[in-house]
């Protein structure tokens, strides 16, 4: 990503946070299966020329992004219950 000079520091210096890990630990505490979609979406974004999220007007998933999420979720829900080794 390239940032214009006018953009504030918190945006420029932003790094992925520990929020997924925090939520993951909480889920483990209550026996809820946790899946972080981020790594799969990053892999998907790297392998396609299409945008997975809208760029400017909206910040939600594009049709391609939605399709990617559906496929990723299918990968987990098709597995036998409890098999979450490759999260």
């Amino acid at each position: 990503m390239i940032f214009p000079e006018s953009v504030k520091k918190p945006v420029v210096n932003w790094k992925p946070t520990d929020l997924p890990l925090f939520i993951s630990n909480k889920c483990a505490q209550f026996n809820i299966n946790f899946v972080d979609l981020t790594p799969d979406l990053i892999r998907e974004a790297e392998s396609t020329t299409n945008m997975l999220y809208h760029a400017q007007v909206d910040s939600h998933l594009t049709a391609e992004g939605s399709c990617a999420v559906g496929k990723i979720m299918a990968k987990y829900l098709k597995r036998p219950e409890g098999d979450l080794d490759n999260r």
Binding site: V7, L19, V57, L77
Partner: protein
């Protein structure tokens, strides 16, 4: 009487004039609405007071041409005030809505509407059987006063089921229920493009979509409880969006606690704007509004197709920035999710949906 400044009649009329001025001030401020400019009210008050007192003074002094001019101006002002007050009362009594909010809401695609149908203790869902045809994203941008060249989204027809969720194929039974916020509703995509539809195609399982924008995890759990349970349910899914679900959770938990203490739930009803004075003020203000033609560019994403300008609306929180209320709310949410899953024998899942910045900064 003129020559006796402390005459009782003089004081009574003086007192009445003062009351008229103060009443007008409160009328324009209190009844005019909280968003009515205090400055405008004060302005009205000062000018009104001046001419009202001037009028009274001239009536009782009765001297000179200057006095007569002031007396006439005072009379005009009082007539104007009386007319405005009559209009104000009339529109308030008939309950006229100057903002025509019901008609305005119909211009907003369902995806961008605040859910307002009460559900559970303090939560809301969409009303049932909503439909929309057109480019949802661009329509909303237009509603917000933007006229820009960029285009996102496409023309779609969307339909909501009788409970207000995006299930165009009515299901009587299903194996998967997915609740979430706008990232699950995706009200600008066609039904077949929803990830819940894709999930159904790839797994062969029947999937119920329970996504509604402007909701947090506690609302979504309520959807699972009331609309997500079925005979064949195997997987209960909540899609947790890192962008705003912590904030939403914090607000929902606050409302839930209030409900526990006072047994009063919130409602989201249209509050009519029946003030004539405020309507005039808004009309004058709206005329000076400038059409927005640019969206801010916060970053450029370097894609294989070139540089794509991005507008970043929010940044995900770190765990240390999570407010205490959200910590408590998260525990309540996860505990109840686990209990619901145990009681109805389904597997609970939480899918963590990254914000856009989270999924592309690593590329």
């Amino acid at each position: 009487m003129v020559n006796k400044p402390y005459n009782i009649s003089y004081l009574i009329v003086f007192f009445v004039a003062a009351c008229i001025s103060i009443a007008f001030y409160f009328f324009s401020w209190k009844i005019g609405g909280i968003d009515f400019s205090l400055f405008t009210c004060t302005y009205f008050f000062l000018v009104g007071s001046f001419f009202t007192f001037a009028f009274v003074y001239c009536m009782f002094s009765g001297v000179g041409s200057f006095g007569r001019i002031l007396a006439k101006l005072g009379l005009v002002y009082i007539t104007l005030c009386s007319t405005i007050i009559i209009f104000e009362l009339f529109f308030r009594v008939i309950g006229f809505d100057f903002r025509r909010q019901e008609a305005q809401i119909m211009k907003v695609p369902p995806f961008y509407r605040m859910p307002d149908d009460p559900c559970g203790e303090v939560f809301f869902k969409r009303k049932g059987n909503l439909e929309w045809h057109g480019n949802v994203i661009m329509q909303q941008l237009n509603n917000l006063g933007y006229t820009i060249d960029t285009t996102e989204g496409e023309e779609v027809s969307v339909r909501y089921d009788k409970d207000g969720f995006r299930n165009e194929v009515e299901l009587s039974d299903w194996e998967v229920a997915v609740a979430g916020d706008s990232f699950t509703e995706l009200g600008y995509l066609s039904y077949t493009q929803l990830f819940t539809s894709v999930l159904s195609r790839y797994t062969g399982l029947r999937v119920k979509n329970l996504g509604v924008s402007c909701t947090g995890p506690l609302t979504q759990l309520c959807y699972l409880k009331f609309y997500g349970l079925s005979r064949s349910l195997k997987h209960g899914v909540i899609v947790f969006f890192e962008g705003n679900d912590i904030t939403d959770l914090s607000e929902e938990y606050f409302l839930l606690k209030e409900y526990m203490e006072r047994a009063q739930r919130p409602y989201r009803q249209i509050r009519k704007q029946s003030s004539f004075i405020l309507a005039v003020y808004e009309l004058l203000y709206e005329r000076n509004k400038i059409k927005k033609t640019k969206l801010p560019i916060d970053a450029y994403y370097v894609s294989p197709n070139g540089k794509v300008p991005l507008t970043l609306y929010s940044l995900p929180l770190t765990s240390s920035a999570i407010p205490v209320s959200a910590h408590e709310g998260l525990d309540v949410f996860l505990r109840e999710f686990q209990m619901l899953a145990q009681k109805h024998k389904f597997t609970p899942w939480l899918f963590y949906m990254p914000d856009r910045i989270g999924s592309i900064t690593s590329i």
